[in-house]
Amino acid sequence: MLKYIFRRLIQMIPVIIVISILLFCLVKAMPGDPVRAYLGVNSKVSPEIKEKLMSDLGLDQPMHIQYFMWLKRMANGDFGESIQYKRPVSEVVGDFLWNTFLLKIVVFILAFGISIPIGIICAVKQYSKTDNFWTVFSLIGISMPSFFFGLLLIFAFAVNFRLFPISGMVTPGTDYTGLEYVLDMAKHMVLPVTVLTISSLASLVRYIRNSMLEVVKQDYIRTARSKGLGEKIVIYKHAFRNALIPIVTLIGIWIPFLFTGSVITEKVFVWPGIGRVLYEGVIMRDYNLIMTLNMLFALLMLMGNLLQDIGYAIVDPRVKVE
């Protein structure tokens, strides 16, 4: 197993290099330049100074040289300086990444915690009232734009009923500590977590229901039933274990999402996450910031794939890794 993981990790290196070349080209292909964006309109800074800024950033070099310069820095663990923040990218993104992770891990737990049992129930009682309810719910959840949904929740629960704060992550100026601080943050999390959970719940329920349905129709389930096993044992022991395989795929896909921000939800609730930072980075053509974050997401995606494969090996005895 360890050998397998090691081999997979080695295989990742060329993939990452190809991804980085593609990303680098795409980022540089955007029209506009970061120095102009940083200096702004009517900066009155003389052209010589502008040129100097460009050459200090290495932006006057040909593309391939810029790429190798970037690669060299990355290899040494230096992600470069953010053009707009004037600080190392790693310092800039640190806090924001963890804020996003905090929000997403709660959503992750809730979404899977709720959708797995519901998906199973819907599959077992296909076309029942419960099943129909969740079908409709899923359709609404998938088609509801998160911006609109977020505002709707804010106006209902924060403005009218005053149950939750309108925005932010903690109440400024309160100096809470310990449990009070956690409760304050939890209050701020309720609405954004609701929006993100409902929108992901919708597709997860459908996915789990369908994979469960396929399993339930298998011959061995019929066999299990006909030999007189109780319904519970049939579903949870025989069917569920097999339905887990597609769920492992889902979890693998979800891993990078734990760190990628949701720009719109974060914006509506003023959640200090990475989505907004990345969005502004793109607007400002902050190359180092965009590259670092996108490479990180690519890496997480690859790691997610690896974990998926390991997960298959655990839940599916037919899969053998060597």
């Binding site: 029209p31 102009r36 800074v45 925005s167 309160t174 200090p272 400002m284 053509r285």
Partner: protein, 594 residues
């Protein structure tokens, strides 16, 4: 071809939707509109320093009084922190609030638009009008108790000239004597700029290369003095300084207590503050908000203030709450569409004039700002002292007049064809506008404009792009467009700000600010004289001459010059803002009423 028809279709849909939505909204808000519009007509922009105050009812229940953090004054801001609180690297408007209350400049503008001493006792200008000598106060201490001396002032100004400086404010020092030598010396042999002289602990002089009236601007609200002992770095190594951008040690009324990136900044009183008037509010918090919900936060009492509101609907929400005071003042700036004066057909002055006459700006302003804005016919800051009543009376006013637009186009040789468009030498009269995408305001302009221009036989092509691409297009490429849209804000009541770089032909080069590519001899001469004239009355005359000239050349279509409204919870009093004097300038005068 497909793209163009798609754009046209889009515009058509937009116009249709706008026409519909315009109807219903107007019906709803008629009373409020006339009320607000009335205010401008009566007083409004005639006296720019005049602020309209609307006080609310103190007896209305106020949720801010009972919230947990009611001892704090919380300002909502949708901008965003970058954590650059020191003036050499400050770029964001939100960070600038923190900078202004935590540090002090040499001079500043007060709320009458006059220059006021802050860190200096007095200053004088030499015979040749090139050297400023500042006599600093000797009782100023930074928040850690160390005294502020001329060395700190020199240090702050030298940062911007450092060879490794990569911030955006180099323009403040680039006209000082010795800048070039100091800036190009990478080895660190030259220890200081020859134009900055420390005479004694509390006297410092600055010498400029040229004697210009506008030189003084480099000391007014420009750089906020930073203590050398805290921010010190080796010449050529601003890296050390950049690591401290988010740390604050200044001489302003407040000091930084807490900074949560992306969330808020908390400020506490600086006990060592030197000013005669001491700060009265214990805690000041600047909180990150979101445009769509910030008015609700204000009404819910979670924040106490929102500055610079322009949306009439939000103003109404705040008004209905009953406990929000309004402070309304003309914005120092305007939104515009600049012509490319080198590209056909807008290289012809008559075509430019026709395009201004042919667009119903007033209809747009009324529909979008609901009376909270005016149109303007000359690219000058509406609150600048150069924008005098006499000048305004002499200007050609380009009110909507499609017939006049038509005859101007006829004169220019563009004759109406059978298909409803004008032609000259077999070429169709077509105007290409580049603008920022996803801007609600611009969508409305585009809709009205294509409709208006169709009537005078002008075909309108619109390309929308993101802000950064637009900058590259108009600053660096400088071709393939006839007009582009943007807005500008000024920070001084001196009309000279930006005029020189925006309109002088010297800046008509790739990357230059003269993006209209405007070249006009009279204009160049006047602009050069303008900056040199120290006598304000004479300067006003020169501005008038300059304005009348550009008013006739029309290289810019000014869309709107609007009003800003600061909405403040009525438990906070003592506030007296103008467009260039906001809460962060006025904080020591403000207090919370229990």
């Amino acid at each position: 071809m497909f793209k163009r028809s798609l754009v046209l279709l889009l515009i058509f849909c937009l116009t249709f939707i706008l026409a519909l939505s315009g109807c219903t909204q107007q019906a709803d808000n008629t009373q409020q509109d006339t009320e607000l519009a009335g205010q401008i007509d009566q007083e409004g922009q005639k006296d720019a320093q005049d602020v309209q105050k609307q006080e609310s009812d103190l007896t209305v229940p106020n949720p801010a009084k009972t919230r947990k953090s009611s001892d704090a004054f919380v300002i909502g801001d949708a901008g965003g922190f970058k954590g650059q609180f020191i003036s050499s690297y400050n770029t964001s408007v939100t960070d600038a609030f923190v900078m202004r209350v935590c540090f002090s400049p040499l001079l500043r503008y007060n709320n009458k638009g006059e220059i006021e001493n802050v860190l200096v006792k007095s200053y004088n200008l030499s015979e040749d009008k090139k050297t400023f000598t500042f006599d600093l106060r000797d009782d100023v201490k930074f928040s850690d108790g160390t005294p502020l001396t001329a060395k700190d002032v020199a240090f702050t100004y030298h940062i911007l000239a450092d060879p490794s400086y990569d911030g955006r404010h180099a323009a403040v020092v680039q006209d000082l004597v010795g800048f070039k030598e100091y800036n190009e010396d990478e080895e660190g042999k030259i220890k200081s700029m020859s134009g900055i002289k420390i005479i004694d602990d509390h006297t410092i002089s600055f010498t400029f290369k040229e004697a210009l009236r506008v030189n003084i601007e480099n000391f007014v609200n420009q750089l906020y003095i930073m203590p050398e002992h805290f921010y010190k770095f080796e010449k050529g190594n601003t890296q050390e300084l950049k690591a401290k951008q988010h740390e604050v040690l200044g001489s302003g009324p407040y000091k930084l207590a807490k900074f949560q990136p992306g969330q808020f900044v908390e400020l506490a009183i600086n006990e060592n503050y030197f000013g005669e008037k001491k700060p009265q509010i214990e805690k000041v918090i600047i909180k990150q908000t979101e445009n769509a919900t910030e008015t609700e936060e204000l009404v819910a009492g979670q924040i106490d203030m929102l500055a610079g509101e322009i949306d009439p609907d939000n103003l109404q929400i705040a008004k209905d709450a009953g406990f929000i005071d309004f402070y309304q003042y003309p914005r120092s700036g305007y939104g515009y569409l600049r012509f490319n004066t080198k590209e056909t057909p807008t290289n012809d002055k008559n075509v430019r004039k026709a395009l201004v006459y042919g667009f119903n700006r007033k209809a747009f302003v009324d529909a979008f700002f609901k009376g909270l804005a005016k149109t303007q016919d000359v690219p000058m800051n509406q609150i600048a002292w150069g924008y005098t009543k006499e000048l305004q009376e002499k200007l050609i006013t380009y009110d909507y007049d499609p017939e006049k637009a038509g005859s101007l186009l006829d004169d220019a040789g563009w004759k109406m064809g059978d298909d409803g468009f004008r032609y000259k030498d077999g070429e169709k009269l077509s105007v290409h506008i580049v603008s920022i995408s996803d801007l609600e305001m611009w969508e409305m302009v585009a809709g009205l404009m294509s409709d208006n221009y169709k009537k005078i036989g002008v075909e309108l092509k619109i390309s929308m792009m993101d802000f950064n691409s637009l900058l590259t297009k108009v600053y660096d490429e400088r071709e393939d467009f006839n007009m582009y849209s943007m807005a500008v804000t000024f920070y001084t009541p001196d009309p000279a700000q930006d005029l020189y770089s925006r309109w002088h032909s010297q800046f008509n080069l790739p990357g230059g600010d003269n993006t209209a590519q405007f070249t006009n001899e009279k204009n160049d001469e006047l602009l050069e004289e303008l900056r040199k004239e120290f006598d304000i009355e004479k300067a006003k005359k020169l501005y008038e001459e300059w304005a009348l000239n550009i008013n006739d050349e029309m290289p810019i279509l000014i869309l709107y010059a609007n009003l800003y409204t600061d909405m403040v919870n009525n438990r906070v009093k003592g506030y007296n803002p103008t467009a260039i004097y906001n809460w962060s300038h006025d904080i020591v005068n403000m207090y919370i009423e229990e």
